[in-house]
């Protein structure tokens, strides 16, 4: 962009518009008297690149600090929790009731999906037996990250009334990491919704 080209014979008329004027004018002419508007336009154009570069750099820096995109994704993640559609025991009935007309968990964007590949929330709604334990672990591992787990009800939390039984896992946290425990035998649908909202709060505070 250095100035090998000769100076133009005449200053182009102002009516030709900025693009026509700039098109056949070397950069060195700019700044000479007689072309004030073009100078301003050109300066703006020249400063654009470093300014844009700086803006982009700071943007990337903020992004690296997790201030830019991460909150957006956090918002998205916590407002669209798809639980896995499966029923273990008694709590599954209340789980279903939470999606009924009276409680309607879909208000909060909670839509059950049947395939673990498309879920991000595993609601363990009932007693877990040792026979189903490795299937539960497999389901949890089939869910893509980020994922959360809710232990719904006393059985999933700690075995509940069946804690002493020979076939029952005393608490699902022995198998998978649990984020929110919901007490109750079974918890009412409100409790489940409250648990989901608490999980959302948790995601907001802790990050995904």
């Amino acid at each position: 962009m250095s100035g090998q080209t000769p100076l133009p014979a005449k200053v182009p008329p102002a009516s030709a518009g900025p693009s026509a004027a700039i098109a056949d004018m070397p950069l060195e002419v700019i700044g000479q008297p007689g072309v004030p508007f073009v100078e301003i336009e050109t300066l703006r154009a020249r400063e654009f690149i470093p300014a844009a570069k700086e803006a982009l750099t700071s943007l990337l820096k903020e992004q690296a600090n997790g201030k830019l995109i991460r909150p957006v994704f956090n918002w998205a993640g916590r407002n669209s929790l798809f639980p896995l559609h499966w029923g273990l025991a008694c709590c599954a009935i209340e789980f279903a009731a939470a999606f009924g007309a009276r409680w309607d968990a879909e208000r909060f964007g909670v839509v059950p999906r049947s395939s673990p590949r498309q879920c991000d929330l595993l609601i363990v709604n009932g007693t877990v037996t040792w026979k189903v334990a490795h299937k539960l672990i497999a389901l949890y591992e089939q869910m893509p990250e980020p994922k959360w787990a809710i232990a719904m009800g006393n059985c999933a939390t700690g075995g509940g009334p069946f804690r002493t039984a020979y076939s029952v896992v005393p608490g699902v946290d022995k198998l998978i990491p649990v984020d929110v425990y919901i007490a109750g035998c079974p918890p009412r649908p409100e409790n489940l919704l409250d648990g989901i909202l608490r999980l959302e709060q948790l995601i907001k505070e802790r990050g995904a």
């Binding site: 026979k131 334990a133 020979y166 076939s167």
Partner: protein
């Protein structure tokens, strides 16, 4: 049909095989029989006495022996009757009722699983509730529920 009628008919047919017919609240009676005549007795009850429904097969561990009981329903007489046989604890074996009542299949698998009764002639005598390879029969009195057991270890190692 009354309880004593039933007793008379059964004794005339099986003689020594019938150990007794007791009164039982809510039932026609409880027929105690020798496990050796089980198969014939089942056929008699279904074909001659009209007990087409087998509603329950269960087993009780009486520590020194084990008891298998069957409850049957007759549509004609609208009564239940209970058959019961005592089996020795070291060899709890009895003929399967599956050839007579197909519904016995699941019941007998359950009795094998929980109390450890062997049903001879059962087409598919596997555990039904506990995982295959589980070492105990949990409804035996000797099985204490508070004891730690190796099922956890087993499932985890799979």
């Amino acid at each position: 049909m009354k309880t004593n009628e039933l007793a008379a008919r059964l004794t005339s047919k099986f003689g020594e095989g019938i150990l007794g017919v007791d009164e039982f609240p809510g039932l026609l009676g409880r027929v105690r029989f020798d496990a050796a005549i089980a198969s014939k007795l089942f056929h008699t009850f279904r074909d001659d006495l009209g007990f087409a429904h087998l509603t329950m097969v269960g087993a009780i561990d009486w520590i020194d022996h084990r008891e298998v009981f069957y409850t049957l329903w007759s549509d004609a007489d609208r009564v239940y009757v209970m058959l019961s046989a005592n089996l020795p604890s070291d060899a709890p074996t009895i003929a399967s009722a599956v050839p007579v009542w197909p519904s016995a299949n699941a019941h007998e698998r359950e009795a094998w699983d929980l109390v450890g009764i062997r049903f001879e002639g059962h087409p598919d005598l596997r555990r039904i509730f506990m995982p295959e390879g589980y070492a105990y029969h949990p409804l035996l009195r000797s099985f204490k529920i508070h004891e730690p057991e190796d099922l956890e270890v087993k499932v985890r190692s799979e």
